[in-house]
Symmetry: C2
Subunit: 731 residues, 2 copies
Amino acid sequence: MDLSSFITSLTTSFLIFVILMILFGWLCTKPGNTVVYYPNRILKGMDPWEGSRSKTRNPFSWIREAFSSSENDVIALSGVDSAVYFVFLGTAFGIFVLSGIVLLPLCLPLATTEKIARVVDSTGKNAFNDLDKLSMAHLKEHGSRLWAFVLACYWVSFVTYFLLWKAYKHVSDLRAAALMSPEVKAEQFAILVRDIPKSSEDLSRQEQVDTYFKTIYPDTFYKSLIVTENKQANKIHEELQLCKKKLTRAETIKEMNPEAPTPTHKIGFLGLMGKKVDSIEYYNEKITELTPKLEAAQKETVKEKQQAAAVVFFTNRITAAAAAQSVHDRMVDTWTVLNAPEPRQILWTNLSKSFYAREIRQYVVYFIVFLTICFYMIPIGLISAFTTLPNLKKLLPFLKPILDQDMIRTVLGAYLPQLALIIFLALLPKFLLFLSKAEGIPTVSHAERAASGKYFYFSVLNVFIGVTIGGTLFDSFKDIQEKPDSIVDKLATSLPGNATFFLTFVALKFFVGYGLELSRIIPLIVFHLKRKYLCKTESDIKEAWIPGNLGYATKIPNDMLILTIVICYSVIAPLIIPFGAIYFGLGWLVFRNQVLNVYVPSYESYGKMWPHIHVRIVSSLLLFQLTMVGYFGVKQFYFTPVIFPLPIMSIIFAFVCSKKFYRFFESSALEVVSHELKETPNMDRVFRSFIPPCLSTEEENEEEQLLNAERGNVKQYDNALSQVSKIGANV
Amino acid sequence: MDLSSFITSLTTSFLIFVILMILFGWLCTKPGNTVVYYPNRILKGMDPWEGSRSKTRNPFSWIREAFSSSENDVIALSGVDSAVYFVFLGTAFGIFVLSGIVLLPLCLPLATTEKIARVVDSTGKNAFNDLDKLSMAHLKEHGSRLWAFVLACYWVSFVTYFLLWKAYKHVSDLRAAALMSPEVKAEQFAILVRDIPKSSEDLSRQEQVDTYFKTIYPDTFYKSLIVTENKQANKIHEELQLCKKKLTRAETIKEMNPEAPTPTHKIGFLGLMGKKVDSIEYYNEKITELTPKLEAAQKETVKEKQQAAAVVFFTNRITAAAAAQSVHDRMVDTWTVLNAPEPRQILWTNLSKSFYAREIRQYVVYFIVFLTICFYMIPIGLISAFTTLPNLKKLLPFLKPILDQDMIRTVLGAYLPQLALIIFLALLPKFLLFLSKAEGIPTVSHAERAASGKYFYFSVLNVFIGVTIGGTLFDSFKDIQEKPDSIVDKLATSLPGNATFFLTFVALKFFVGYGLELSRIIPLIVFHLKRKYLCKTESDIKEAWIPGNLGYATKIPNDMLILTIVICYSVIAPLIIPFGAIYFGLGWLVFRNQVLNVYVPSYESYGKMWPHIHVRIVSSLLLFQLTMVGYFGVKQFYFTPVIFPLPIMSIIFAFVCSKKFYRFFESSALEVVSHELKETPNMDRVFRSFIPPCLSTEEENEEEQLLNAERGNVKQYDNALSQVSKIGANV
């Protein structure tokens, strides 16, 4: 890529960004769009344009707001997990700013001013374009200027160690503060018990668990909740909920238009066939029919379908924390315990999977992931080969009239080859999350971390290493076969060349990516379409705008990929550093807005994501250091061994951090939970918050919502709904 | 080695064994030797020849007694650790008996009756001697008879899995029974706390620790004992003890011979030079001088020399067990906790070593051990080269007159070359134990396990693999260099040949080794010499016969080496199996006697040695399976892959065992310690039992001994001493 095409690409991306910014500034001031741009505030019962906002209303006020918000605001509105995400963005930004301050003035002039004979690469072209002059490629072999780049490596490494250390400490404090808070959190009083063995005596599970824990904790044991197989009850419960929803909708339709005939629908396949019935009547009947059925199913489930897992409650959070860390039985694969997660993020069906089933599943999943990462191109290639236009016509003859149209043929012709790949890449995160859940992981947050880890391997291996090494190797496979030593030279010339590619890649990512993220064009359009054509009741409308999670499982691997790329090229082509800094700086700004106003976290893991991020940043650093060892070797620098201490230091750093901080992220430190509570916990409420919705009665459900609302975590329905009706009135 | 020399060696060993047996039968009935042959019984206050013993008094009655003793006898007289050692011996014996029952009738006839062309090995000699005909070496390549040997591999593996599984379960039960016993055991009420951080407030260590644990365990915290740097107090304490001992001795001498002048000694270097003084007067003076000095040192130590470690006591053993497994601080490298071991096996000086100091020491020690194992021949070779007779004469001219004598020259000439090696091998276990202690391990039992592990690597690598592969490789290094493929053939011919060597090795080990062990010739001679020439007082005599530990740190690696050799050759040369069975069967018998009558365990770890043994047996099995894969390959057996599942199964077996049993050996399961005690623990006594002897006052010391005596673990002085005086009267 030469300079002009690089600048063209950069300008295009920047223009798109500016347009999206302006669009956002304009759209977010429209009252009808508040639910798209401020859903988190609305759900928390706050005015979307509170304070100074409403007065100024200028398109860039969100920037000031983002800057003026503190970490505590983030924790209050979006929880510790979001705050940890900002620590990550901030740390990455810090690493690149500090590195850039030293590396740009040090390395760029040294590289540019080097007097070097024109090097001609194997293809006969001049190996240097204008951008490459700014990189290490432009340095002489054995040159003494390389010493400056050695220093640069040390600088980048030490900056990273320093900021990571500070960040880990900070996150550890955030987690401690959250865990020691005097609020009563239900999950702090409970532990999950799995792998309960078959009782030798003739006890029911409930009695067995109660006796067992009462003996060990005579003073602090409160109650136990046996995990049940809820499939049947769940099915009826969902059916009932659907009927209720449809009934409300039918009633709303009737209210809006009292003169029209009562709404009807067909009861056959997909509502397209079968007898026509009066909707209100039909659903009322269905509800009266299902309610006792659900109750019967609930009773049967609780009695007959008890599984080998339980949630055990203690009256004291110190005991619960200690219990979650102790071996309970002499056969340590039975009565295994772990900290209870929040009820809303428990994967109930995974709880009853046995110890060895979990282990086997894990290895099977690892193997599948390994195959997916390494060989995903094979099936995709095959599918692409078969889904050519002529093949399609042959296999699906009924599509022929459509395919014969010129325009459709052109579009399809252009996109069909990549179609399989595009679909694969879009589905991959979901597939990895599905696999992670299949491992038998008990909580949603853990499954997301596992999926994020898998996605990270995929992206680093395929995008980063694939582009860097693979491209070069395949291009010149023959040369290498003939002369295996030349592989080193190939790499040496290809590394800086790829830097330009990645420069564009990073710029595209942040300009277009953040532009789309902030302006929320797609959710906006979807919402308006849905509201116009599909939504009838208030809850329908709410469903259409409710934003969901930030989605760490895909967000973090993507950020990590950028971090890996930038850190690896930071010394080879220092020009990439500002781009990295902008990516994370802009990301911090944009997501500050998004987290405060848009996304609603669906769980809270108190920063358990951090060790996962930390390890991956250190791995990126290690990859960078190893690359540099190799690249200095390629440059035939006699003193390359001066870099050897760096990878060793990284390993020691990772080891020390894990020994110092990690276990606190696995389990709660007793000192932390020994802080006093502001009130005696209402144990009954704690207990009932863990009952799955399909097993709780109506009143319990309502009470649970109240409990949740008190904790400030979830939807305050009243506020939200009143907000929605206001909007309805405005449009 | 041919048949005749093999039989000669076997007969010689057997004869030595028989002679030693007869010697033992005769010596152990002499009353003057009871303290050598029954010290454990005497110390436990039991009659050495109680019950039927005294009546029959035949030289083989010990065999009947050994067989009639139950596991509970062993636990009562020598603790759980000894019982676990018998489980090991029994399991190994079982493996070889069950393997032998199938393999001997199956494989021996198949190997002997194979009709095979005479094979001539590389040296031109006939490759088969009579013994080799009984091994797999005598089988045809590609032969279908090899299938029987495949079956044999499966049989040996499954027998091992089955017996190991049963043994692990049994040991786990033994440990659980000991831990849940209703006796009050001081260590079950305490935890060790290390890495206590510097207090931010101005608290003393004592206050800091007390506040910290009182907050977390408001109801169950009892007291804490800060670990102190006892060097100075210890030195004075030892000096005082020595003076007391010497005073008693001087007084005894005077009593025995009241007419003689009072005993005197010189106070200069080693008692050889300096002023002559009256001993009784001198030591009395010294004691009155040292006693207040010790008290002052104790006070200073307790106040000024507090270290960053403590023993924390709880009033409840469930809390103590749970506390020892929980993270206490959010910085997990501070306030690290572990189960308190028995006070007598704490390595006090290691307690205050910091977390990272321990880690660094560990890696340094591993590195030193690695160097020792791999390169120990280099310094020994150098030393041997320099310590030739001419060199000695040159370097140490004053030895010349001695070295010129003919006889001495002959003996030295024969042994000097191996002298360095012999000294090295004798000192190695002590050196490894020293290294293990230097790692910062907090308990003696753990240090012995660590030393045992190191010694196992040494013996397996050097003896087993060294002899098997090394010998062959070095002999024919040139051949291999010329034709690298021939290494496989070399191994194939050398493996069965080595089997004969190991056969003799195992036989020698058990005949001579167990003969010496049982007859205790050396301790007997040493005791009688000491008693005649050195011992003056009763406690002197007692010191001369007190037997000490069984010494697991060297015993177990030696047994493991035999087990590894026998299991590895079990299918290649099945003739070795009976020898293995005899080794462990005879070992069981001999050590049953030794454990019941002789050795006095100096600590109790409740079977923590077992996981260590288990892992090593499984590794031996794995080594066997891999050897077999290789050997079948050498035999060009087309279906060699049918053995591949075996190593995988071994790994899975090890994994499942560790997941099912291991953590219970690391920490106490809560269910186990939740059993009721027979009395409320006397917490003051529990606390005081952990005070190091040099810091406790006289009364405390005595009380501690009482406490120990109550627990039935240690010397009952009165009984022991009365026994000794009886012996004195007899001789």
